[in-house]
Amino acid sequence: MQAPRDFWHFEKDISGCGVFGVIDRARRLIPGSEPIAAMCTMHDRGNGLGGGFAAYGIYPDRADWYAFHLMCDDRDALERAEGVIKQFHDIRHSEPIPTRKVASVKNPPVVWRYFVTPKANRPAWATGDEADYMVGTVMHINTKVPGVFVFSSGKDMGAFKGVGFPEDIADFFRLDEYHAHMWTGHNRFPTNTPGWWGGAHPFTLLDWAIVHNGEISSYGINKRYLCQHGYECTLMTDTEVVAYLIDLLIRKHGLTKREASWVFAPPFWDEVDRMPEAEREAFKALRMVYGSALLNGPFAILVTDSNGMMGLNDRVKLRPLVVAEQGDRVFMSSEESSIREVCRDLDRVWAPKAGQPVIIDYLPQGGAA
């Protein structure tokens, strides 16, 4: 599962990826078979070098604990990671992530999940809040512990990913046995970065998960900007910056998803010039403060967290994205056919405009949780 060491082992290909997402706004459970079937329809958008899913609402009995999903070179690496986790957290539950042997998934890493809570007596240097402490743990393991990556760290959610077609990865992680009220899926066609286990989508941090079709040409700028704010990129794939940027902009700096979308895909300067003055000044300010968080290059991304899902295109729409509604269900996908595969009759189908986010939140929870 180690990333290729030499440039000649790196895969380089053209074309895009496939993304799919479904949310049930009333938190009714959707079986894993649905996102899997949808991703199968878009089989040819990938090439077997990366597939993955994020699922929300899958650990209801352990919803108060952070679920760390780890991929490790071997048991020794897992031991090292466990030592670090024990040092900073109380492990409430620990188990291998259930898998099955799949012929097409070769040399899988050791995959393990820990349900943890931060220790009551945290070190004096841990000055931030609990979420910062969790982010610190993830960054520490990913940068300092050899042969281990934390690929999921939220509550009551989990990411599952690896090298293979999404249907193979789903089979490997037995995702047909899970039910979730929100799913995203990804079929990878690696372009400029290696096809390895850590480089598959989704990219996550806390309960954020990102799936992305396209490429983030501004990766270098974004990475250096994130580095100044304590986020270190270790997964060698452009999309990683989106997960950390969204955490920085929304959780740390308090922007809304709408505002974050203006940072990622800002209006063109000629559009800004035509705005009323107050609006124009606001957009200039946003661009001045967050210019280094602008995402350049083609993208269609699905951003999910415990509040819901956001779909966003780059500002010249260089990648497809279709949104559909059916009752409380909202679907977002690279191709309408994948939505029709799992839901024949839709109330509404549309292709969002470039740079215009589609933000779908869960309905407020009533008395019955």
Partner: protein
Amino acid sequence: MSADVMCDEKGFCVQREGERCVIDATGVYYRQLNERIRAALEHGVTDIEVVQVRGQRYIATAVEGDVRFTVRGVPGQDLGAFMRGPVIHVYGNAQDGVGNTMDGGRIVIHGMAGDVLGYAMRDGRILVRGDVGYRVGIHMKAYMDRVPVIVVGGKAGDFLGEYMAGGAIILLGMHSGMADAPITGRNLGTGMHGGVIYLRGRVPEYQLGPGLSMEPVDEADLDFLRGHVADFAAEFAGEFGAGGAAGGSEAAGQAAPVDAEALAAAILSEPFVKIRPFSHRPYGNMYVGTN
């Protein structure tokens, strides 16, 4: 009509009724589906209905001759690419790349369509009832009597007719699921050096790419428009303004005429503008001086 069963080398059979056959695409990978379509064509079938289509790519790609396709569902990328001659009706929405480098024939989408529709199209017609995506009709070209035409009942995204060299795009902006969106977006006709884009209504000047003019249509334009609008109205009379195949994806508009002539009259009741390059070769001197 004689009914017989047609089988390919792999033992896959379709029921054939004379010149007609129906192929169920449920769970069929795009390669096998296209092999079956080819096998049917080789058996002399000229009217193929493909049902339960969900994302299979390249349907009717590079097919030549007088063939009729009926596609039910959502066909995948590059529907009718490179084709020369066939008529395709899609009952549903189409995805990206419809009519890529199409060389002749006719594609009628009874729904909406995705990005880069009619890319580098060289001849033929594409008629879309609803909205289309970004980069529609880019690189379209024409030669002598081969003039491709795209007619869109809904709205279009940015870069409509970018780098266009010939042919015509007629954008009506009427049957749209995007009530608040402008009829088309920014960079309209950027790099255009031939052909013409007709818009029903107007767009702000700043949406236009450089070197283009936007003028009212003249009598010759109206003649051209009348013919294509009548053609469009004949295809979509009765389904214009209704929910249709997209499952209510279009805005519930006011009751539209069911009769084709009345629909054509309603379409032509608003003024059109035409967008063309100022000169014949606006980029002739861009790199090397030629005069």
